[in-house]
Amino acid sequence: MMQIQKTRKIEALTSNYAVAYAVKAADVDVIAVYPITPQTTIVEKLSEFVANGELNAELIHVESEHSALSAVVGASAAGARVFTATSSQGLELAHEVLHIASGMRLPIVMAVPTRAVSAPISIHNDYGDVMNARDVGWVIYIAASAQEVYDTVIQAYRLAERALLPVIVAYDGFLMSHTVEPVELNDEEEVRKFLPRTPRPYTLNPRRPVTMGPLASPDWYYEFKYQQVLALQEAYKIAKDVDAEYSRAFGRGYGVVEAYRMEDADYAIVTYGGAAYGNAKAAADLARERGIAAGVVRIRLYRPFPTADVLKAISGVKALAVLDRAIMFGGPAEGPLYRDVATAMYMSGLDKPAVNVIHGIGQRTMYVEDLYKIYTMLREGPRKEVVFMGVRI
């Protein structure tokens, strides 16, 4: 026991710094980033690593997020291990290239400390940005602690390079990106063993010339899109394997879905991200103190959607609420995760009362008491319509 404690290296880091440490451990070759709040401290830390010679990488200070993602597409196509990061408007500006990166099957890793999208402009946190990128063929993780952010970036490289898919590692802007927490860092040599350099089938190399990004006519285009469907399906399995392998190597694992006090829960909140999950756990504790069998399910792997694991996690409850931190306007329900959960339930014939609660928009404080109320609401019989919690109506 003493020995283990001796070798553990625990640092006080924000989630943004945790990303930078993971990128350094992964021996990334090319980084292209553009400053945007709350992502900026990632690139500041990485710049420091490069300046100090701790990270042997080219850091491209691009002139926009569109170019940031374009540059890492080019670098990844050339066979380099790459990294970029952005938030909010930056992710929106790069949106075009998101589709291209996944269409070209490039193993890019991008960190997204999430932030509300304009207008009006807000630098604060919600998931309006990354939810706009949820269906573009990227794998998306949503982490809930600085430790998990660190671990997930490393896992993301392994998954990306095995599935040949780009990966977003998202987490709460400010609420995590700027929050100092304990993070246990891995030995960098061990991380490099966990992330061996495996040759990719195609790269831009004059010794083996290929054409990337061609024109596909109606006779061909659909097949490549279907390939992406299969790749995302496969990534579900790979993500589980990678998490298990990581857990064996470094002693920390998360699964693709995390459940809190769900063993005997009658009512569940299903959600994502650090603040929603942490506060929902506190609310579940409170609810249990007050006699409600409450639990929380957290979606860690958001794309591909872990349908089987989610359905399993909620199979025993009487009713559930899906707590969303983004508004997708004009749909049958405004919460993106709710649509996923409802679709998954419908497709599997699972019929349970399920309500969509939206909260934490533009970093409106989600008090534990608010989330506790979700449990009482579920007990009383959930409403059909979407609940916009915390807004003045």
Binding site: I123, V180, G278
Partner: protein, 167 residues
């Protein structure tokens, strides 16, 4: 709570770092805005022996640190205070709860030559709470300062620790 330029975000981070170095769990986060230097800013800190998952602002703090007297006019730093809460204040202020005083501004000017009070207030918090040791604070400061500035800040923490008075 303090003006942004007074480094209250860093102060909370240093304390969190010290707690983590001592094997505790900690969480330090500022309340953010696009404000520039000098605007009031709140910074939160939780320290625990168990993992911390709650990510709510600290509603009922055990310790309230006020870096700038003027905030008592503009804000209410004692909002949410419990009977058992402790106030650590730069200068003199009469509050209805247990209060620790330190003239952080004078100390900072004396040591750093500038009225940057955050590290002085770290010393005051350590005196008031004993939540971490001065030794680990000095260790934690290494992550935030180097060279001469590090030496001066360690000195400032120690001086503030000595000069903090509880009433």
């Amino acid at each position: 709570m303090g003006g942004a330029a007074r480094g209250m975000v860093t102060a909370a981070q240093v304390l969190a770092t010290a707690a983590i170095l001592e094997g505790k769990y900690a969480q330090a986060f500022p309340e953010f805005g696009p404000e520039r230097r000098g605007a009031p800013v709140k910074s939160y800190l939780r320290i625990s022996d168990r993992p911390i998952y709650i990510r709510e602002p600290v509603l009922h703090p055990d310790v309230i640190v006020v870096a700038d007297q003027s905030l008592f006019g503009a804000e209410n730093p004692l909002e949410g205070a419990k009977d058992t809460s402790i106030l650590v204040v730069n200068g003199v202020y009469k509050a209805p709860i247990k209060t620790y005083y330190v003239d952080a501004t004078t100390l900072a000017i004396k040591v750093l030559g500038r009225p940057i009070v955050n590290t002085a207030l770290i010393g005051a918090v350590v005196k008031a709470t004993g939540v971490v040791s001065l030794g680990t604070v000095a260790e934690a400061l290494k992550k935030y300062f180097t060279g001469r500035l590090y030496d001066l800040n360690v000195k400032l923490v120690e001086m503030a620790y000595q000069e903090t008075v509880g009433l």
